[in-house]
Each structure stands twice: as structure tokens, then as C-alpha cells.
């Protein structure tokens, strides 16, 4: 029974997306999307409960035997990533109701939601599949739909952002494909677990190293690992708010998940440890943390600021992975989850500001917090969490990260983490200072009918989504059992006990 349910995670959005595309009505399109994401949430939480004790759920697509057929092999890591994706899908769908009506053209509602569901499908598919070529297909499904979604942003810069993301994303995916080709040439298999189980037999072949480098580069581009992050700030900065929220919370996380799979399941750790990969990743992670934070600090536009901060936060995750210790991996997995929650909340706050003020440029928003104190409060809470103040979710993952770095006496990592946090204080203070402490400015609003109610109030659905996120930032800082258990179980699975 459980095995059959897993495939529904992919089937439901796949079936519903074309149906959604037919409808022009916003309500219906939204309702279908909400239904889809809710179903996915239920299924993925059910699956996570099944596998959190360390067991696996195996599903053979079409009944074909692996390694020839496609196999879905779900352990706690897959399930956890799927849960992150579907939770964020639900939250962003709730947020979307008002936001999409504002930001997307009337005749595109159906297509927008259809693309959104395809993106969800792609991300969930990546999380579930155990076949590396199938993974490429899902990667491209999610990427293609996200290029389209990003280009729907109201600023024309969204178009160029989407275009350069398309170019770079396709290069990344093609690199990945080349890598898979080499790997297939060496191993004759596409099943991740099959490749791994016979790795010694072809380890010596030159092809393997080439395939490894190509695959890592390809994923690195998709995951926006410094210095391959250049598409990210514009893409997240100019996308429609809902898409910023959803992609910032999930897309890079899922790519990092692929990285984890490749590093720990496809290629054995002993193999790539010799290639200086941990050291390289560790250095890149530290540079990303500092570079991203400094660049975020230089931004004057909230959403671009948050996007650069994502570059830095991905750095934290990479550091956690590259430490190759239980604490490190635990921290990386937890930070994938915590950062998804935090960044989604921050982007939601930015989206609400955009909704009300029609701008997220700091110089336009002087004293605007007075008009939306609750949104601002949620932004503040999520900001504290991003910094890593105790009692919030961000603290827990950073704590494990520090523990890992201190245990290995990697002091430059400790210093980078500290510097990153200091700059996080600085760039978030910049928002607080501009929005709250600056003298109030008259906000220029264009393209609005006078007497439009949306000027005075933020829609309830947005506030609900926002505060769900803000409360989660605190909740997962205090009651950490769920993410900790999942992350520790993953760490044990990846490293052995």
C-alpha cells in the first residue's frame, strides 16, 4: 500500500497540471493547486513517518525490475526533502491566492498554476527517484517550469533574469547529462544504488573521475554554490513573489539533496575524499558565506538582498556537508529545512510589502513598517532566526555546524560562520533601519485605482501564510525533535553510525 502511494506524489500534479491549464478562472485554478499541494503534503508526511526509523520504501515503476526499470527507493533523506518541498508548496499556495491576482495577468492564471504544479512535480520527482537519468528529466521539468514562472515577474528585468537562468541552468543540466553519460559508459547502469554497489569494479577507469567532475559542476550550478550562483540573485529578486518564496525555499535545497545523493550514495566517500573535494567544498562554502553576506549587505532592494543571503546560507549547508561528520551532516540537513522555513517567511514578508507598497526598494520604504506592523514583526522574527539567535530555528542548525567545526578544529570555518552572522545582523538591520526607523516617506504608487482596498490592508490569506512561517521559525527553535531526528537519521544513514 505504502509503495503505491509514493508514486502519487508525482502522478497527482502531473495529472492536474494540464487540467489546471484549461481554466481561466483564478478561483478554480487556485483551488486545484491547493488541493494538489495539500495531497502532496499529506502523502509526504505519511511517507516520512514510515521511514524515519531508518527503514526504506521501495517502488518499482511499472513493475520493471531494477536496475533496468526505474526504481524509487525512499529513505529518511528523500522523505524529508519531499516534505520540505510539499510544506513549502502548501504555504506558498496559500500566499498565492491574493498575490497572484495582483502580480500575474488575468489570462495567465491557469497557465501560471499549471507551471507551478509542474515545478512542484519536478522537485518532488527529484527527491523520490533512484534513477539518475530520471533525475535529470525531473530536474529539467522543474527548471523549465521555473524559467517560465520567473519570467512572469512584473518587472521586465524578470525576463532577462529568466533568460540568463535558462542559459546557465541548461548548461548545468547538460553538464550533468554528460556526467551521467560517462558514468553510464563506465558502469552500464543508471540506477543509483546499482552503480554504487558495483563501484569498485570500475573505480580505476579515467571516465569515472570525468563523470564525477561533470556531475558536480552541473549540480553546483543548479544549487547556486559559489561561484556558480550568478543566476540566483536576479532570478529570485525579480520573480513573482510566490515564486521567489517557493523556489528560494525549495529549488536550491533539492539540488543540494542531489549533491548529497551523488556524493554519498553514487560515489563512495573514500573515492572523492582523495580528490580534495571536501577541502574545495569547505573553502567554497566559507567564501560563499562571507561573499553572500557582504553582497546582501550592499543591496538596496529587499528581495535581492534576501537572494544574496540565500547564496550565503547555501554556503552554510555546503560547509556542513564538507565537514563529513555527524554534526556537520545533521546541521546541513537541518539547515536545509530551517533555511527553507526562514527564507520563505522572509520572502513572504517581502511579498506583502510588494503587495502594499508596490516596491521593495529600501529607499522607497522609509518608515513603512508603521503601515504594516504585524508583517514587520514577522520579518523581524524570521530575521532573528536567519541570524541564528537562540530560541529560533536558525540557531539550532548553526549550533550543530559550530559543533562540527570546533570538533575538527577548523577555525577558519568558525570564523567564517561568525563573520557571516555579523554581516547577517548588518544586512537585516539595514531593512529594519530603513523600514522602521527612517522618517516616513510618501509612497508613490502607480497603476492603482484610487480607493483600492488593497492599499489599506494586507489580505488575510497572506498574513496566515506569513505567520505560519514566523511561528515555525520559533517553534522549530524550541521543539526540534522532528528535524533533529530526521537529520540525525540521515547522517547515520550516510556516514554509518
Amino acid at each position: 500500500m505504502t509503495e503505491q502511494i509514493t508514486i502519487l506524489l508525482v502522478i497527482i500534479p502531473l495529472l492536474c497540471a494540464p487540467i489546471t491549464a484549461i481554466f481561466k478562472s483564478h478561483k478554480i485554478a487556485w483551488a486545484i493547486t491547493f488541493f494538489v499541494s495539500l495531497c502532496c503534503l499529506l502523502i509526504s508526511s505519511y511517507i516520512l513517518l514510515q521511514v524515519i526509523d531508518g527503514s526504506q520504501v521501495i517502488y518499482e515503476l511499472g513493475g520493471w525490475q531494477p536496475p533496468w526499470g526505474i526504481e524509487y527507493k525512499i529513505d529518511s533523506l528523500n522523505a524529508f526533502v519531499a516534505l520540505i518541498v510539499s510544506v513549502m508548496a502548501v504555504v506558498s499556495t496559500v500566499f498565492a491566492y491574493a498575490s497572484v491576482q495582483r502580480e500575474i495577468d488575468d489570462d495567465l492564471y491557469g497557465l501560471f498554476y499549471a507551471a507551478f504544479q509542474l515545478c512542484l512535480l519536478g522537485l518532488l520527482g527529484i527527491a523520490l527517484t533512484g534513477d539518475i537519468f530520471n533525475l535529470f528529466v525531473f530536474l529539467e521539468i522543474s527548471s523549465l517550469s521555473s524559467y517560465a514562472l520567473i519570467s512572469m515577474g512584473s518587472n521586465r528585468k524578470a525576463l532577462t533574469a529568466a533568460f540568463s537562468y535558462l542559459i546557465l541552468g541548461t548548461i548545468g543540466a547538460t553538464f550533468f547529462l554528460i556526467g551521467v553519460g560517462f558514468l553510464y559508459a563506465a558502469s552500464g547502469s543508471l540506477n543509483i544504488f546499482d552503480i554504487a554497489s558495483r563501484f569498485e569494479t570500475y573505480e580505476k577507469m579515467q571516465l569515472v573521475t570525468t563523470s564525477f567532475i561533470f556531475i558536480i559542476l552541473g549540480i553546483g550550478l543548479k544549487a547556486a554554490i559559489f561561484p556558480l550562483h550568478s543566476w540566483l540573485p536576479n532570478a529570485y529578486g525579480y520573480a513573482p513573489s510566490v515564486i521567489s518564496i517557493f523556489l528560494a525555499a525549495t529549488a536550491t535545497k533539492v539540488s543540494i539533496y542531489v549533491l548529497i545523493r551523488v556524493l554519498f550514495d553514487v560515489y563512495p566517500m573514500e573515492y572523492w575524499s582523495k580528490l580534495l573535494i571536501p577541502q574545495v567544498l569547505l573553502t567554497l562554502g566559507c567564501v560563499a558565506v562571507i561573499y553572500g553576506s557582504v553582497r546582501a549587505w550592499q543591496q538596496n532592494e529587499i528581495r535581492r538582498l534576501l537572494a544574496f543571503s540565500s547564496v550565503a546560507q547555501i554556503g552554510y549547508i555546503i560547509i556542513g556537508l564538507a565537514l563529513l561528520s555527524h554534526s556537520g551532516i545533521t546541521s546541513a540537513i537541518m539547515h536545509m529545512f530551517n533555511h527553507a522555513v526562514i527564507k520563505a517567511t522572509l520572502f513572504m514578508a517581502a511579498g506583502m510589502i510588494l503587495y502594499r507598497a508596490r516596491s521593495t526598494t529600501l529607499s522607497d520604504l522609509g518608515g513603512f513598517a508603521v503601515n504594516m506592523p504585524w508583517t514587520f514583526a514577522a520579518l523581524f522574527i524570521a530575521g532573528l532566526s536567519l541570524i541564528g539567535v537562540p530560541g529560533t530555528a536558525g540557531f539550532v542548525s548553526k549550533w550543530y555546524l559550530l559543533e562540527g567545526a570546533v570538533a575538527q578544529q577548523k577555525w577558519f570555518v568558525v570564523i567564517s560562520i561568525a563573520l557571516g552572522s555579523v554581516f547577517a545582523v548588518a544586512y537585516l538591520w539595514k531593512i529594519v533601519d530603513a523600514m522602521y526607523f527612517s522618517a516616513q516617506r510618501k509612497i508613490h504608487i502607480t497603476k492603482v485605482k484610487s480607493g483600492d482596498i488593497s492599499l489599506a490592508v494586507a489580505p488575510k490569506s497572506m498574513s496566515v501564510a506569513l505567520w505560519t512561517g514566523a511561528i515555525a521559525c520559533i517553534y522549530f527553535g524550541l521543539f526540534t525533535k522532528l528535524p533533529t531526528d530526521a537529520a540525525k537519521s540521515v547522517a547515520t544513514a550516510l556516514l554509518g553510525s
Binding site: I387, P390, W399, V422, V425, L478
Partner: protein, 489 residues
């Protein structure tokens, strides 16, 4: 009622009170009644804990949650926390009475929000007082900063916001930049953050690292007002007077010095500090703060600002006491938390009464007002004398022990004499910048109008309580002595 239950009550009562107050928006009298009842209940529970303190065992604690293994949000009963909780909750009653009169007479807006957040802030204070480990302490230290912020900017004007900006920037900035790393270093060195009498770092921390770590803590806990991070306190004076009185003379600032003493005694351990002689140079920080703040206070014409700098200076007495790290100094520091609270709150109440009745905020405008507000100025005089540390007022005892501690201090002679002369000079400066105010009030030239006009009755009652206690504590300081002596090495 077991000790643990009572402990939980001290945390729950202010929160329940806050909810009740926020729901009674439409019924002013009921709402203010709720504030008073909450304050009385909280004080009663704390008194109950005090009376039954013999029953305190290790079991008298409870853990709320444990986000990371070994790092729990936990509370426990200990005599030092009890002292702080008693002072804060007791003075909350006086402040509530005073605030009711003040806020109404001053026609402040958003009174419901004010009283609600006040109760929430008191919750933060209780949590700080009874925190069982450094992690919990840090958490509620931050909580206190955030929850008092709306009280500081209560009036909502640009000036209030500017003050609030400094307030939150310094308090949160230093705690994240210094306090948090210090805490993390402590964790990785000692493997625990529990408060243990005698400290947890001895034998684990390299003695060369002690001084930098202690410095991180002192700079990070900027609520203690040690220079150079003291500016938030004068900035916070934009708040309504009851806030300045309870939070910025008692609760918030005392949470700062409370944390410093707690860290010195329960994390580092006084023996460790003395063995390493880390305090030989660190002690200059509070000592210079005492002098510098006194000198700055001299130049301030705004009454509340002068009181704020006086607070900065007095807080450093406590930090100084903690740095001296011997038996009498710790007793003195701990008692000063209580003694200074009673006196300083009386001073603030008097300043608020002058503002509410005469609308005067500057020292230079007070000339001759003593004849028109004899009660208020009497209160002010008593508070002043207690802070100076003269006999017949409670403030004498804490200064007495602090001085004994300073005399016992084993250090290089230049530091020894510097500390002693600091104590002497600052008392002189106290006389000069504080006592000159009531002198001017009583003996200065007046504008001829001699009709008596005092603040609202509620304010007067509120003022009378701490003043009487200041007198009473001279004759019977045993309550606070007992609690202070319990933590002394």
C-alpha cells in the same frame, strides 16, 4: 504547593495577567485592577518561595524544552534569583500603583498595550531570575530587550524612535556580537552551561583565555551599562516614567548586572578568577565607568538623563563588586541590586511626579519647587541619601560590604588604590550631582507661588512604598543579606 509548582506560577502569573489585561481594554478600572492583582499574586508567590527557601532542593527545577541535547530551557530556584525576583516583583506593585496614577494624569495613549507589555516584561524578568542555565538566561535576556522595546518607544514620536533605535541596536548588537560567542565558547570548553556554585570553567579553560572570555561577557551584557556600551540607557529615557523607573532602574538593568554576577560566581567561579588574577586589569572597566558616568551626570540638566547616568554609575558598583570576587564584595554587589533598586525607583517616581504635576523636566527649572511639592522632594532626598550610602538608609549596607570587599582585595597595589579611591571619589560626586537637586528644590529661589500641588494620590502611594522600604532596610537588611550571603564564596 510544592516549590516547583510555585516556581511555575512565578512564570505563569505575569503571562496570564498580560492576557487578562489585554482583554480588558474597554474597562479601564478593571484593567488596572488586573495589573495590581497580578502584581500582588506574583509577589505573594515569591514571598512564599522566600519563606520556604529551606525546602529548596536540586529537584526544585523544571525543564520546558530541550532544543539541543544538553541545552535546555530550564528554571530552578536559587537564592540569588529569589533576591532579584523579590525586588522586581515587589517593586512592580509600587510601580503599578504609581503608573495607574501617572498614565491617567498624563493622558497617555495605548494604556492597555502599556500595561500588557509591562506584564510581559516582568515575565521576562522572572525567567531571567530563575533561569537554570546560561542558555535560558541568554534567551530571556534577549526576550527582555525585545519586549521592552515597545515600552521605550511608547509615545511613538520620532524622538522616541531614535531613542528606541539606540536601545535595540546596542542591546541586541552587543549580545549577538559578544555574549553569544562567549556563551558558545563556554559550551565548547566546559561541555555544559548549567549554573554551578564555584563555576564550571575551572580546570577546563586555559587560564590565559579567562580574561578575554570574561571581557566578552562583560561587553556582551550591555544591560549592565558598563562603558563603552552604556548609551542605550540614557536613550531609553524617552520612555514614560514608570518604564524608566521599574525597567531602567530595576528590572532590565538589574537583569544585566544579575547576569554578570551570576556568570562570575556560577560560570567562572570566584576562585578561578582570583587565581588567575584576571580582574587586576578588568576591574578598571567598571571603575572608570563609575567615575565617568558620575562626571557626565554632573553635566546633564535633564533630570531623567541625570538619573540615568547615575544608574550607569551605580550599576558599575555591582560589576565592580563581582570583579573583586571575594566574599564581602559579592555580598555587597548582590545587596546593591536590591538597595539601589529601592532608592533609584523612588528617585524616578519623584522625577515623574514633578513632570506630571509641574511639567518640568530640567534640573535648572526645579528651583524652589520643594516648597510646593514637599512630599515629592522628601522622597527624592531620602532616595538620594540612600544612594550616597549614608546611615539610616538601606543603601549604606551594600556600600559597606562593597568597601569591605575592596579592602580585602588582593591585587597589585596600583589597582588596589585605584579601586578604593574610585569608591571614595564617586561618593563625593554622588553628593554633588544628586543632592544638589533637592537642595535646589528646598532652598533655591522660588517664583513666589507657594501653593502646595502634589501628584495624584496613586502616584504618592507608589512613591511612599519604596521610600519606606529604604528606611526599613537600614534597620533590618537581613532579608537581602541572607539571600546574598548564600551565594558568597
Amino acid at each position: 504547593m510544592t516549590i516547583t509548582t510555585a516556581l511555575i506560577f512565578t512564570l505563569v502569573i505575569p503571562l496570564v495577567g498580560a492576557i487578562a489585561i489585554s482583554q480588558l481594554k474597554r474597562y479601564e478600572n478593571l484593567r488596572d485592577g488586573a495589573t495590581l492583582v497580578t502584581a500582588l499574586c506574583l509577589f505573594a508567590v515569591n514571598v512564599y518561595l522566600f519563606v520556604n527557601r529551606d525546602l529548596i532542593t536540586d529537584e526544585a527545577n523544571f525543564t520546558l524544552v530541550e532544543p539541543i541535547d544538553g541545552l535546555a530551557i530550564a528554571f530552578s530556584l536559587n537564592s540569588f534569583g529569589l533576591l532579584f525576583a523579590l525586588v522586581a516583583s515587589g517593586l512592580w506593585i509600587a510601580t503599578s500603583i504609581y503608573a495607574i496614577g501617572y498614565m491617567r494624569a498624563h493622558h497617555e495613549k495605548h494604556q492597555t498595550r502599556f500595561f500588557t507589555l509591562f506584564a510581559v516584561a516582568i515575565f521576562g524578568v522572572m525567567a531571567v531570575a530563575y533561569s537554570d542555565n546560561l542558555f535560558t538566561l541568554f534567551l530571556f535576556y534577549e526576550f527582555l530587550t525585545v519586549s521592552t522595546y515597545p515600552l521605550v518607544t511608547h509615545s511613538g514620536t520620532q524622538a522616541a524612535k531614535r531613542g528606541g533605535r539606540t536601545y535595540i541596536f546596542i542591546l541586541m548588537g552587543t549580545s549577538i556580537l559578544f555574549f553569544l560567542p562567549a556563551m558558545i565558547i563556554t559550551w565548547f570548553t566546559a561541555g555544559t552551561l548549567d549554573f554551578v556554585q564555584g563555576g564550571i570553567l575551572q580546570g577546563k579553560l586555559d587560564s590565559a583565555a579567562l580574561l578575554p572570555l570574561l571581557l566578552l561577557f562583560i561587553l556582551g551584557i550591555s544591560k549592565a551599562g558598563v562603558m563603552p556600551f552604556h548609551k542605550w540607557l540614557p536613550a531609553a529615557m524617552v520612555a514614560p516614567t514608570p518604564v524608566s523607573a521599574l525597567l531602567h532602574a530595576v528590572a532590565v538593568v538589574k537583569a544585566g548586572v544579575f547576569s554578570v554576577v551570576k556568570i562570575v560566581v556560577f560560570i567562572f567561579g570566584t576562585d578561578f578568577i582570583n587565581d588567575v588574577h584576571a580582574n587586576d586589569w578588568l576591574i578598571y572597566l567598571p571603575a572608570i565607568t563609575i567615575l565617568a558616568a558620575s562626571l557626565i551626570a554632573l553635566t546633564k540638566d535633564n533630570l531623567k538623563e541625570r538619573l540615568a547616568y547615575s544608574t550607569v554609575s551605580q550599576l558599575s558598583y555591582i560589576v565592580l563588586g563581582a570583579m573583586l570576587a571575594n566574599k564581602y564584595a559579592i555580598i555587597g554587589a548582590s545587596m546593591h541590586i536590591a538597595m539601589h533598586a529601592f532608592a533609584k525607583i523612588a528617585l524616578f517616581f519623584a522625577a515623574g511626579a514633578i513632570l506630571v504635576t509641574m511639567h518640568k523636566t530640567k534640573v535648572s527649572e526645579l528651583s524652589g519647587l520643594g516648597k510646593r511639592m514637599p512630599f515629592t522632594f522628601t522622597v527624592f532626598t531620602i532616595g538620594t541619601l540612600s544612594i550616597i550610602g549614608l546611615p539610616f538608609f538601606g543603601g549604606m549596607w551594600s556600600k559597606w560590604y562593597l568597601l569591605s570587599g575592596a579592602l580585602d582585595y588582593q591585587s597589585i597595589s596600583i589597582t588596589y588604590w585605584f579601586v578604593l579611591s574610585t569608591l571614595a571619589i564617586s561618593s563625593m560626586l554622588n553628593i554633588y550631582y544628586l543632592l544638589s537637586i533637592p537642595m535646589k528644590g528646598f532652598f533655591g529661589a522660588s517664583d513666589g507661588n507657594t501653593s502646595i500641588q502634589e501628584a495624584p494620590t496613586a502616584c504618592l502611594i507608589g512613591m511612599a512604598i519604596p521610600t519606606l522600604f529604604t528606611l526599613y532596610l537600614f534597620f533590618d537588611p537581613s532579608i537581602f543579606y541572607v539571600l546574598s550571603a548564600a551565594i558568597a564564596p
